[in-house]
């Protein structure tokens, strides 16, 4: 396996670094899930709750049924099979029956000839609600009425916590957390709710096959787990539900959970017509899960020389109305809370709760983003307290192979923490820019009407890490199928979701290398053609798809040789080295490692802040990231730059605002994502230290930049302003302290 590392050169499979899908995407020919059409199709529309918490008294569909062009109006009574679904725990109703638990929860669905007819019919579905007091404060959720009295996440081996509204309670205890040091720093930190804000709205088309089964073409991150949630709700065997990957307009975790899949399928099966559903932007904001808002308390103790002695943290995340992946997010948040530092004594308490706020689940960085923000602020506080250079303090405590995580796991793979810190710190930062200058280059841009008198410059530094692949004993595998034809050309099947990250090119690159031919095509992903690839998440897909395609190619070549060159068709399953659960009471490893691999990134940021106006400008970012082995430098840089932009968004502008659980800014007018003018130039250094257990030494690269960038940007803002800035996104008011 390792011999291939040297021969796998960037650009081998894609001359001039062009992605396989680049040309159809620049010409507009690439078919996204919202672009699909089928003959005779209807349009679906969802009726959603205007309340964050309410009892449903009655649903009257009679007027809607009689509207022009309407073919079906369905409610919870029409769900053919299981009434609930969920990624890990089936706690979410397909359509709400007795009560709604969040703003925007689906209550009824409509199919009509024209989209506008469907919208008008949806508007006259009369749902009578009796509003209930919403549980919106995560701090108090465990003292309030249980939103899920049947406790769907109990009995899954988690720490016993009988309080109401607990999704998962975590405790990580390592060494003696009471150990004292020469210096102690503490702080409370808070992160607002971020949205994935992928540009391609939730959408797809469900086509009945005329024999009771259904084909669903959809933008998703995991075809097979969609199928396994959809089929029981339709009352169908899994093979009667075929999920096909349509073009995906970004994902970032927000497509791990189902959106319109079951609804479109129900309407299609009822009407015996293809049904297309497309959310608009407002509906998209309520139609998928978000990044968990978090409140974190941390206390760090260290020796006078700067050696960390003990870290204690409490992490509270708001899971919203349904479990989604909250249990895994809180586990990750806690497991990586300390950061990539060696600390002998650790106590981390974590809690994910149910509330009536918008449901939260996976988003790029998955728990590590939240705790990195707190832990890195703590490292800077400690450096200031001890009068040690912040970079030196981090180098002094850097966790390296052979060191121990807070979970007791000894780092066995690659983890070049010191190297990424040194490399990031060595990138030269730009000179301070002179005044006066074009207003477009002032904090706040052309809206800044000063001459720059209030501008202060700041430099910040942060380090972040997280796990690669699924953890804690999850059976994490990927399947690939390779058909070699008589003429030596090949077709690869792999159900890995191409969400823009470029896994298509990874697959083609590996197959072309392994098969020794350029004549390789990748078939479109479908549950009908190949086994599960697992999820496009947890920075796992490059590693897992490379492993599966490599194994299938090698098996196909062997089989072909055995058969004397005849056509072969071989499917293989790849698994990364096994992981094991954490002890629920101590958070320590049990029969072996809980995480298969780690990746670390360091980032230096230069900002300018107008301290009079509270406006900010990120001037420059330099970063070094542990990437294992880069299969394509362009693709890796793209992940670093894009992942950093999302971290910048969380640092400076992105927050879903809720009042009593009701989202107030479900639009791109009010929920701001970084524009071209908000993003600075980014200098990326790739630290290549092959991961020993991974095919070709690759590591996932998508998440570390998002983990580290929020922390690094706010560190620079603190440096510029001298303010604590313990909450993100940082608002102008926080900077001018009004």
């Amino acid at each position: 396996m390792s011999t291939a590392v040297g021969t796998l050169r960037q650009g081998r499979a894609t001359p001039a670094m062009r992605r396989a899908d680049a040309v159809p995407k620049v010409t507009g020919e690439f078919a996204y899930s919202s672009d699909l059409h089928a003959a005779g199709m209807l349009w679906g529309q969802t009726v959603r709750s205007p309340h964050a918490h309410a009892r449903i008294v009655g649903i009257d569909i009679s007027e809607a049924v009689g509207m022009p062009g309407v073919h079906a109006v369905l409610t919870h009574e029409d769900v053919p099979g299981r009434k609930t679904y969920g990624l890990e725990f089936a706690d979410q109703p397909v359509l709400a029956s007795a009560r709604v638990r969040y703003f925007g929860e689906p209550v009824a669905i409509v199919a009509a000839e024209e989209p506008e007819q469907a919208r008008r019919a949806a508007a006259v579905v009369r749902v009578e609600y009796e509003p209930l007091a919403p549980v919106t404060d995560p701090e108090r959720a465990t003292e309030m009425e249980a939103l899920h009295p049947d406790r769907p996440t109990m009995g899954h081996g988690y720490r016993n916590d009988p309080r109401p509204n607990v999704v998962r309670s975590m405790l990580i205890r390592h060494g003696d957390p009471d150990a004292s040091g020469d210096a102690t720093v503490s702080g409370h930190y808070e992160l607002g709710q971020q949205d994935q804000a992928f540009l391609g709205p939730e959408s797809g088309i469900a086509i009945p096959d005329g024999e009771g089964g259904i084909d669903i073409h959809v933008a998703t991150q995991w075809l097979h787990v969609d199928r396994d949630q959809v089929a029981p709700c339709l009352g169908l065997e899994p093979e009667m539900v075929r999920i096909h990957l349509a073009g995906v307009g970004g994902a970032f975790g927000g497509r791990e959970d189902l959106s319109m899949q079951i609804h479109a399928a129900m309407l299609a099966l009822r009407t015996d017509r293809p049904v297309k559903m497309v959310y608009n932007r407002e509906e998209s904001f309520v139609g998928h899960i978000h990044r968990h808002p978090a409140r974190i308390w941390a206390e760090h103790r260290a020796t006078r020389a700067g050696q960390l002695v003990a870290v204690r943290m409490r992490v509270l995340i708001d899971g919203g109305a349904y479990a989604s992946s909250s249990s895994a997010v809180i586990s990750n948040a806690c497991a990586f809370a300390v950061g990539p530092y060696a600390v002998e004594n650790v106590l981390v308490e974590g809690l994910a709760v149910y509330t009536n706020n918008p449901p939260c689940g996976a988003m790029r960085g998955f728990g590590a983003v939240q705790t990195c923000f707190a832990a890195e602020a703590q490292m800077d506080k400690l450096a200031a307290e001890l009068r040690i250079d912040p970079v030196e303090l981090r180098l002094l405590n850097a966790l390296e192979p052979g060191g121990t995580l807070a979970t007791g796991q000894v780092v066995a793979g690659s983890l070049p923490t010191r190297e990424v810190i040194r490399r990031a710190a060595a990138i030269p930062i730009p000179e301070a820019e002179e005044l006066p200058r074009d207003a477009i280059r002032l904090p706040g841009g052309a809206g800044n009407t000063t001459r720059g008198e209030g501008i202060r410059r700041g430099v910040g530094f942060a380090v972040g890490f997280k796990n690669i692949c699924f953890s804690e004993g999850f059976d994490d595998y990927c399947t690939a199928r390779v058909r070699i034809r008589g003429d030596g050309s090949a077709e690869v099947h792999c159900a890995s979701a191409e969400v823009g990250q470029g896994v298509t090119d990874v697959i083609l690159q590996v197959a072309r290398l392994e098969l020794g031919t350029e004549h390789v095509e990748l078939a479109s992903g479908s549950t009908a053609e190949v086994g599960s690839a697992g999820s496009t998440s947890a920075s796992r897909m490059t590693w897992m798809a490379a492993g599966a395609v490599q194994a299938a190619c090698r098996a196909a070549l062997d089989e072909r040789e055995r058969l004397g060159g005849a056509e072969v068709d071989v499917e293989r399953v790849y698994r990364h080295p096994r992981t094991f659960p954490l002890d629920p009471e101590t958070g320590q490893i049990t029969d072996g490692q809980a995480h298969v691999a780690l990746a670390v990134a360091a980032m230096r940021v230069v900002v300018e802040v107008d301290v009079d106006l509270g406006l900010t400008r990120v001037v420059w970012i330099g970063t070094a990231q542990d990437v294992g082995k880069a299969l394509s430098r362009t693709a890796v840089e793209g992940q670093i730059e894009g992942g950093t932009a999302q971290g910048l968004g969380l640092a400076l502008m992105e927050e879903l605002q809720t009042h009593d659980g009701v989202i107030a800014n479900a639009s791109f007018t009010d929920y701001l994502v970084p524009t071209f003018l908000d993003m600075p130039p980014i200098v990326s250094e790739l630290v290549e230290e092959p991961e020993p257990d991974a095919p070709y030494g690759v590591k996932g690269v998508g998440e570390p930049p998002t983990v580290v960038s929020t922390a690094a940007i706010v560190a620079a803002l603190r440096n510029a302003t001298g303010r604590e800035l313990a909450r993100v996104p940082v608002r102008p008011d926080d900077i001018v302290e009004v």
Partner: protein, 151 residues
Amino acid sequence: MRIELTVNGELLEAEVWAGESLLATLRDRLALPGSKNACEQGECGSCSVLLDGELVCSCLVLAAQADGHEVVTVEGLAPADALHPVQDAFAETGAVQCGFCTPGFVVAAADLLRRVPEPSDDEIREALSGNLCRCTGYQKILDAVREAAGR
């Protein structure tokens, strides 16, 4: 109501309802889904087209307003089987990831380079700040527009 408009050089007719956007007509009635439906409220630029040569968000133009006018979409930016220099540069530099914003960026960048053949980086950033991209962080889009300007 019935409208008649020239799209990518071809005279087309469509039966639309009064409140329908030009974007919906292009995508759902004229089989031109290249212009994208990311926000449908004029904030993201994914639906950018040229209306009588002027860059507009087609989600903010009523189909009825386009009656008798000329529209160029991403599908008509270059002759069939050829790429506009901006399209070629986007493909070349890694400016495309999920690609949902790409058609809008391509149309807006082509419009910029027609007006300002050698834009500065600030001019590129400013001109394209009405187009949102969630994947790339814009750096490789900047590279692409510089590259296209140099051709």
